[in-house]
């Protein structure tokens, strides 16, 4: 374990995680809106927002799957020290972290059961950038429509078709974060 793994967590966890959760809650409750979070300095290649999401939502009771470049010793050490989440396979993960390409195929993630749709994965998708431009989003949390630069639309449309089952997504880029719950309808492009 390197010294770097010991740094970059919340300095004042109760207040910082509260502020971070509020932003994540607003992001998830209003799909397509982009919020800013702060307080974490995770090792490369993780973004600040991805680090904040992990610190705020993951703990030793949640299985975490690191996909692609995120699955590196620096990140593993940082997660082990600050979060303590067991690193698990994609099929049993509560949270998964990686770029959209690295997370493929997304059909392997848990989508919950008909009587417990909450037992599903949350994907933290690392993105180059987040802008309000792209396919239109409608559904709960959206008054008329919002737009977000999603990496594709077919997978999210298939996910919506499973409702109330399905996985939920948080998109992260730098200190920005946006949510896309399974309930959102994504425009076909």
């Amino acid at each position: 374990m390197t010294a770097h793994a010991l740094q970059g967590g919340f300095a004042e966890a109760p207040v910082q995680s509260a502020r971070a959760f509020r932003e994540i809650l607003e992001a998830m409750a209003r799909p397509g809106t982009i919020r800013r979070v702060a307080g974490a300095e995770p090792p490369s290649p993780l973004s600040v927002a991805a680090g904040v999401a992990l610190l705020t939502l993951c703990d030793p009771t949640t299985g975490l799957h690191l996909a692609g470049a995120a699955d590196c010793p620096a990140v593993r050490d940082w997660v082990a020290f600050h979060i303590g989440a067991p690193l698990v396979a994609a099929e049993v993960a509560d949270f998964a972290l990686g770029t959209w390409e690295a997370l493929q195929p997304v059909s392997r993630f848990r989508i919950g059961q008909p009587d417990y749709p909450d037992r599903s994965a949350t994907l933290i998708v690392e993105s180059e950038r987040l802008v309000n431009h792209g396919p239109a989003l409608t559904g709960p949390g959206i008054e008329t429509a919002t737009w977000l630069n999603l990496p594709e639309t077919a997978a999210f449309r298939a996910n919506r078709a499973l409702f109330p089952l399905g996985f939920d997504c948080l998109f992260t880029a730098g200190d920005r974060i946006a949510g896309l719950p399974r309930s959102t309808r994504v425009e076909k492009i």
């Binding site: 509260a18 509020r22 607003e26 009771t61 599903s120 709960p140 939920d168 309930s183």
Partner: protein
């Protein structure tokens, strides 16, 4: 931060961090599946079950130090439950509090939705006693869970139909079941059905916490929420057919307050902030003469013979500009809404 430490060395918002993470994860899943009840590991709180432990835990998981918290109990800011929960968070989270709906960022409520429309950026947290709308029709959790999974809600319609068969109308007047986004049937907590139309298309985030029953559910902003009904018996929100006796509002939900032991009564807004705001703007109701007095909540009937309450009713009657007849004083408790 230092003042929080001074305030008795509680962790911010009382709960430990691991508990808050668990609740926060449940809230996010609840948002993702609107109307579905997410199980969570409800904690013992320093107040008894039934006093809003579910709402308190949800509020604790959502609060940030910059928040301005409002707590209402049946619409009132000044009742025991509301006052003690507000003090609890003042002490453990150091947050500012308010009684004004428009100024609040987080509102914890027991059994009412404020009359003042909510806006984006606000969170409304409901205290829920029985989160399962099908519980009184099917006591087994294993079965109700299956019914939700299969979208098997015929039993609920049968119940409403039996209401019509027996009473000629749907007699359910509070905790009136709703369907969320065309999928889950949800208990809106025991709010009067007068408030049901405010559940849907609401710009605020609505979170529901049931502590004893260990469930959290949610309505994201702008959700589609329909009160269950029939084509020939459409849903009708209802309220007492009166105006507020203090502020004169004809469109707010009213509490009936017994003012003496001779049948005297008055109707007042259950939302104290809304009523006070209207009176501050000069609106006056039938008995509003003692305007500076705080809204009368059922303190009168205490101990000796009702002398103070008589005073209140007569004082009000004597001073109100058009002398009130029949209605309040003379009718001798013959009002239709008396008991039942």
């Amino acid at each position: 931060m230092t003042e929080q430490l001074d305030a008795g060395a509680y962790n911010f918002a009382y709960l430990d961090e691991q508990t808050k993470r668990m609740i926060r994860r449940a809230i996010l899943k609840a948002i993702a599946v609107p109307g579905y009840q997410v199980p969570f590991a409800s904690r013992e709180m320093p107040m008894p079950y039934g006093w809003g432990t579910g709402g308190v835990q949800v509020t604790a998981a959502c609060l940030v130090p910059e928040d301005r918290l409002k707590v209402i109990d049946q619409g009132a800011d000044d009742t025991t439950n509301a006052v003690s929960i507000r003090r609890f968070f003042q002490r453990t989270a150091g947050v500012a509090t308010t009684e004004a709906t428009a100024e609040a960022t987080v509102i914890q409520t027991r059994h009412r939705i404020p009359e003042t429309p909510l806006k984006a950026g606000q969170i409304l947290v409901y205290q829920v006693p029985i989160p399962e709308p099908l519980r009184f029709l099917e006591p087994r959790e294993t079965e109700t869970r299956k019914m939700h999974a299969l979208e098997e809600y015929g039993l609920m319609h049968v119940k409403l139909y039996e209401d019509i068969a027996r009473h000629g109308q749907i007699a359910t007047s509070y905790a009136y079941p709703v369907r969320v986004e065309g999928r889950y049937v949800m208990d809106p907590s025991p709010i009067p059905k007068f408030d049901n139309p405010k559940l849907g298309n609401n710009p605020a985030i609505q979170l529901f916490g049931a502590g004893r029953e260990q469930r959290i559910y949610a309505l994201p902003p702008w959700s589609r929420v329909e009160s269950l009904d029939f084509d020939d018996h459409p849903f009708r929100p209802s309220k007492a057919p009166h105006r507020c006796d203090l502020c004169g509002a004809g469109h707010s939900y009213l509490d009936e307050v017994i003012t003496d032991d001779a049948g005297g009564r008055m109707f007042v807004c259950s939302d104290t902030d809304f009523c006070a705001g209207r009176r501050a703007r000069g609106h006056r109701g039938r008995l509003a003469a003692e305007a500076s007095a705080p809204p009368p909540h059922p303190s009168p009937t205490r101990g000796e013979g009702g002398a103070p309450s008589d005073g209140l009713a007569q004082g009000g009657a004597a001073l109100a500009s058009p002398p009130p007849r029949g209605e309040g004083l003379g009718a001798g408790g013959a009002g239709p809404e008396g008991t039942a």
